[in-house]
């Protein structure tokens, strides 16, 4: 029977019209890119990917009716929001995924990536066995042969060129325990050439924020943003990069009628939900921030009491603002003064206000300075250290915060102790090895205390003449465990570096672009692939962006010969003769170090950062009791027997020994709470006085503190002065006496007994002191941030007034940014390459993308690499939507063949490329370079094959957010 719709509705609805149009007219980037994958069936697309004959794919692991279901919990591996994943396991097989309602962070929700993680453990595109290149062909080998082959070659290189010729590239995808073991392995191997993804995502945040107020991390939490009345998202696109954070942001926006301001060169999917959108020129963040601050000072909107009590050097900032009047800011950034005034007024007066950023601020040659300027804006308006405020820095990888804290970083031992002799001594005590043994592993004491080579520069360290590198020899071997190659800029240069290496080891769930580019570079031998478990196939703790630490269970065992990170590190340590010392206090079951034991060792050494209270038992109790934690405060009721009074995940710092039951710190620098309720002042990290002005807080202190003014960090000397040393137990005193000859110098961060922290907390004080935040950071190249043009800028007229910093030797290598910028201006590069190229994330993919592009459910949603280009620029070049184009770059004759996505999302003169693609190089498909069956479903050109030179002077962060390019029809 035919039901007639009522007359007048015979025409198609608006939505139906849109749906029907899909096959002919491009609508948005997805419908345009996967037209064939929509209503018409899309199996043609499958054919195009050589998946074989057309038939219904086998179900990956259907539920088994009647078989008991075991629920297991882990944490999503695709960003740092920290969503709990609940798995249904039947007979050891992951057969279903259920919403994790109890988690206060995601409350059942996921994004496209989180909702598809079950595929990862079933993927037939994983690396299944160890492999090796033999005369240019991939061959399966055994684990023993792989470890022996790698170990022998490493020893040979060490003999000839020293330990610094081996690079240990670790991962933000390690658990804390994996990170710690990898860091420890590098220390025992004898090099500081060890690093991970934080270098290329938030290294500048860490340096900028820590240099301002103490610690380099997100100050509040995703949940706390629900309290904000004004949110500025500047240089971030959380709708795609951190989708679950938007749950908290959008609900906060609705409940508080909050201002939701997006400042970005690109009209992002986040901007689509903004109350105000400000388009800026890429790379002008400092000018924009100062433009806002100019209005704030001009109108007296600053928080005078907060500045007087808790900030050092704001007067100098005020003076500097004279250089950034609205006209000048508009000349630099393109933002009209009135618009910035409106935004500045909201941020300063409609409080609490929070400033949220991501890689749009950090990935620049001025990354550290950008971040500092952002912090100063928060300080000037008193928007830090209270609920709803703060510098909310959304980190990218599931454990990038943890891996940063644990010192998988060229500049420090675990937990920011640095590389000084004192730091090495501290860790020698924790590890119970002789300092002299560690020293003997290095080329010299000098190199032991010198920061290593950042991973952004690894290929420079391979290719530059030996005399330009401040270590014994060039890099000759790369051991890469869990890091993409295509997320590092200047790919044409890295391909040359790959060809020159004597040894390349890739330990990863997938072969990654390291493998495909290595073959492309001409490698034939001495290249190993080690299959590694995902976090769902092992157990351990990871740190979310808000510093909460969550314990993930093993959901299933790996399907093939994959080993987890702990096993790989242990087997290698064994081969290198380091295992006995490294695992002295860590139980090893078979070849697997027990992660709980690893965490306990970390607890015993991490006093500086407050990872000392989070025992495996406490973390597991939190996972079990997730539903008890409040949605906004993240706190459990005080009377709960297991987790009473704790903040969810014991966000660090969580002081003292676990028995002390410090609740963790949900919001940093909140003086409104007692220290035992998670209150804290700014860290007194930079001394007590500078140029006659105090660096200690004035009249500001945490709730219930016995000291009612600023105070320095606590040492035994300070304790004695206050007479509090009497509170130490004999046992604690015994431990303290063993630490070094001068007992007075033993501090809250080196006291292995935890006694100093315990006593200080019992007096309501804070172990790290009560200092002022620094508006002026005198130890940085720009103590007060100043606008500096990008190395490759379209505004050559501004370079003379705002040049990049002079060339210098940094991290053992020359940084010749100034020369490159000057040469670019002199040669007129901006004329040949007139378009700004910036890069960013897509919601479906993560990082280098090989894992997510191998996931059939995600790959289907983004099938081709593209470049976004403004309609005006496209029209000038005769480029139509969906057409093939060549994007050419300013260095190394770089070029990439991609689809054009013509859209107003980018302004005129700007192009955007997502950075997750790989497996193509200069128009060539490299699918045949992967070991058979391990190629990701979707391949494409990498954005970083076009990106160019440029390194932040403080961290050697790369510059993938602004360079120049040209686009032409292919």
């Amino acid at each position: 029977m035919l039901t007639k719709r009522k007359s007048g509705q015979a025409g198609r609805t608006r939505l139906q019209t849109l749906m029907g149009a899909v096959s002919s007219v491009p609508l948005d980037r997805r419908t345009f890119l996967r037209r064939s994958g929509l209503a018409v069936g899309g199996m043609a697309a499958v054919g195009a990917f050589h998946l074989g004959t057309i038939k219904k794919a086998e179900a990956i692991s259907p539920p088994q009716p009647g078989v008991p279901i075991e629920l297991r919990k882990s944490i999503c591996t695709h960003c740092a929001v920290g969503c709990t994943v609940t798995a249904e396991v039947q007979n050891g097989v992951w057969t279903g995924q259920e919403p994790s309602w109890d988690s206060p962070i995601n409350r059942g929700s996921h994004c496209a990536k989180g909702a598809s993680v079950r595929e990862l453990v079933h993927s037939d595109r994983r690396l299944k066995y160890p492999m090796k290149l033999v005369s240019g062909q991939w061959e399966r080998i055994s684990w023993d042969d792989a470890i022996n082959g790698i170990g022998d070659k490493l020893r040979e290189i060490r003999e000839k060129s020293g330990p610094d010729s081996v690079y240990w590239m670790g991962s933000a995808k390690f658990s804390n325990e994996g990170t710690y073991l990898f860091r420890k392995l590098a220390a025992f191997w004898g090099t500081n050439n060890q690093d991970h993804q934080a270098r290329i995502c938030h290294s500048t945040t860490v340096s900028g924020v820590a240099n301002t107020w103490g610690y380099g991390a997100m100050t509040n939490s995703f949940n706390d943003i629900r309290n904000a009345k004004t949110m500025i998202i500047m240089g971030g696109n959380p709708a795609e990069a951190h989708p679950i954070s938007l749950q908290h942001l959008l609900e906060g926006k609705e409940l508080n009628h909050a201002n939701f301001i997006v400042i970005d060169p690109r009209f992002t999917r986040t901007a689509a939900h903004a109350t105000d959108y400000v388009r800026i020129r890429s790379g002008t963040d400092i000018a924009v921030l100062w433009g806002m601050l100019w209005h704030i000072f001009e109108n007296g909107w600053e928080d005078k009491e907060f500045i007087a009590q808790r900030v050092y050097g704001m007067d100098e900032i005020r003076k500097e603002m004279a250089k950034y009047p609205p006209e000048e800011v508009e000349r630099i950034s393109g933002v009209p003064g009135e618009q910035l005034k409106r935004v500045a007024e909201m941020f300063a007066t409609q409080k609490p206000a929070t400033l949220i950023w991501c890689m749009g601020q950090t990935q620049h040659t001025v990354g550290t300075a950008n971040v500092r300027a952002s912090c100063i804006l928060c300080l000037a308006t008193g928007n830090v250290g209270k609920p709803g405020t703060g510098a909310n820095i959304f980190r990218g990888h599931d454990n990038v915060q943890g891996a940063t804290d644990i010192g998988l970083d060229v500049t420090t031992l675990p937990f920011y102790y640095g590389l000084t002799e004192g730091a090495w001594n501290h860790w020698a005590r924790v590890w119970e090895v002789e300092y002299d043994y560690l020293l003997s592993r290095f080329d010299s004491k000098e190199i032991m205390e010198a920061p290593g080579i950042p991973l952004t520069r690894w290929f420079d360290a391979v290719s530059l003449p030996k005399e330009q590198i401040a270590q014994r020899d060039n890099l000759r071997a790369m051991f890469v465990q869990g890091h993409a190659s295509n997320s590092i800029t200047r790919i044409p240069e890295s391909v040359k570096g790959l060809a020159k290496l004597d040894l390349l080891v890739i330990a990863d769930p997938h072969p990654t672009t390291w493998a495909s580019l290595a073959v492309q570079g001409g490698r034939k031998d001495n290249t190993f692939l080690l299959p590694v478990c995902t976090q769902f196939e092992t157990s351990g703790s990871r740190v979310a962006s808000n510093r909460s630490i969550q314990w993930g269970e093993q959901i299933v065992k790996p399907s093939f010969e994959q080993k987890d990170d702990y096993q790989v590190i242990y087997r290698l340590a064994q081969k290198l003769g380091l295992a006995e010392r490294m695992f002295k206090n860590i139980a090893v079951e078979g070849d697997r170090p027990v992660p709980e034991d690893v965490l306990r060792e970390m607890n015993r050494g991490s006093w500086s950062t407050g990872y000392c209270g989070q025992s495996p038992e406490r973390l597991k109790a939190h996972m079990k009791n997730q539903r008890k934690f409040d949605l906004v405060t993240l706190r459990a009721p005080k009377d709960d027997p297991e987790v009473g009074g704790d903040y969810y995940g014991l966000p660090w710092p969580c002081w003292g020994k676990p028995e002390l039951r410090h609740p963790g710190t949900a919001n940093l620098y909140n003086t409104g709470l007692h220290v035992m309720d998670g209150g804290s002042p700014f860290r007194a990290r930079f001394g007590v006085e500078r140029n006659g002005q105090t660096l200690l807080a004035e009249g500001s202190y945490t709730e219930g503190s016995e000291l009612t003014d600023g105070y320095p960090e606590f040492t035994m000397a300070v304790l004695k002065k206050l007479g509090w040393d009497k509170d130490l137990t004999a046992e604690e005193l015994g431990v303290i006496q063993k630490i070094g000859s001068d007992i007075d110098k033993v501090s809250w961060s080196t006291d292995l007994s935890g006694g100093i922290q315990r006593v200080v907390l019992s007096h309501g004080c804070h172990p790290y002191g009560n200092g002022k935040a620094r508006a002026v950071a005198w130890n940085l190249p720009d103590p007060i941030p100043v606008h500096r043009e990008p190395i490759y800028t379209p505004r050559v007229d501004l370079v003379e007034k705002y040049p990049t910093l002079p060339d210098a030797i940094q991290f053992r290598l020359p940084n010749i940014g100034f020369s490159v910028q000057k040469a670019a201006v002199d040669k007129g590069v901006a004329k040949a390459f007139p378009l700004i190229l910036t890069s960013g994330r897509l919601v479906e993919y993560e990082g280098g993308g090989e894992e997510t592009r191998s996931n059939r459910w995600l790959a289907e949603l983004q099938q081709e690499m593209f470049v976004e280009i403004n309609p005006a620029d496209a029209a000038e070049r005769g480029i139509s939507d969906g057409a093939w184009v060549w994007v050419t770059g300013a260095e190394s004759n770089s070029k990439a063949k991609v689809r054009a996505l013509v859209t107003q999302r980018v302004g005129k003169g700007v192009t955007f490329m997502p950075f997750h693609f790989g497996g193509w190089f200069q128009g060539e498909d490299l699918r045949q370079n992967y070991p058979q069956g391990t190629d990701p479903i979707v391949l494409g050109e990498s954005a970083n094959s076009i990106t160019t030179y440029g390194y932040d002077p403080v961290t050697n962060m790369q510059e993938p957010k602004v360079t120049l390019c040209q686009v032409m029809a292919a």
Partner: protein, 198 residues
């Protein structure tokens, strides 16, 4: 009995596609078949809005009205389901559907359509509940287990709501009152011949 409905709050949808992959995950939907998808209008421009769409389980479903083999039926919860044993893959329902919900696997090299596939509101099909045969043809049957569709349960921003029409309408109303604005209940007039008045 409850009257099951979907509602997508377009002011919350961020086009993260969790609903799409959750559906794929739960039912192991093959490549090329999309029981749910997210449509974005004004892409990249001010006024950009996204809405997650699937079978809306219409009142007086037009697909059922045009089906020549009468393979559709409506459950007591008002979920519109169909029998793949009866379906002949004619494609009439695709033309009738105002939401573009019906999907057809391509089974030959000359464009011939296989059995129609669409969102089941996670309620399986005419086979016995929660059996292997039901899963193979229609996917999981969450309703039989007392659960709601996974797409809505996993929605990143709680934009997509699924459940008893009156309850989800109440949730949406509360949001609109709180916010002071709303984009309306997308597709409701077409699917259910009613709208949510605030």
């Amino acid at each position: 009995m409850a009257r099951m409905k979907f509602l997508c709050d377009a002011d919350r949808c961020i086009e993260c596609n969790a609903c799409v992959t959750a559906c794929k995950n739960e039912h192991d939907v093959p490549w090329g078949i999309n029981r749910r998808r997210v449509v974005t209008i004004n892409d990249g421009k001010p006024g950009e809005r996204s809405v997650s769409m699937a079978c809306m389980h219409c009142t007086d479903a037009p697909c059922a009205a045009v089906c020549p083999v009468d393979c559709f039926y409506t459950t007591a919860d008002a979920v519109v389901l169909h029998s793949k044993d009866l379906c002949i893959g004619c494609g009439y329902c695709f033309y009738a559907c105002p939401f573009g919900a019906p999907q057809y696997p391509r089974v030959g090299n000359f464009g011939s359509r296989g059995k129609m596939d669409k969102c089941t509101f996670c309620a399986g099909g005419p086979e016995q509940d929660s059996t292997e045969v039901e899963y193979a043809k229609y996917g999981a049957n969450r309703l039989a287990e007392g659960k709601l569709p996974l797409c809505a349960e996993m929605c990143s921003t709680k934009s997509l709501l699924a459940g008893d029409g009156e309850i989800i309408a109440a949730i949406y109303k509360e949001r609109v009152i709180q916010r002071g604005y709303g984009s309306g209940a997308w597709g409701w007039q077409t699917a259910y011949r009613e709208t949510i008045t605030v």
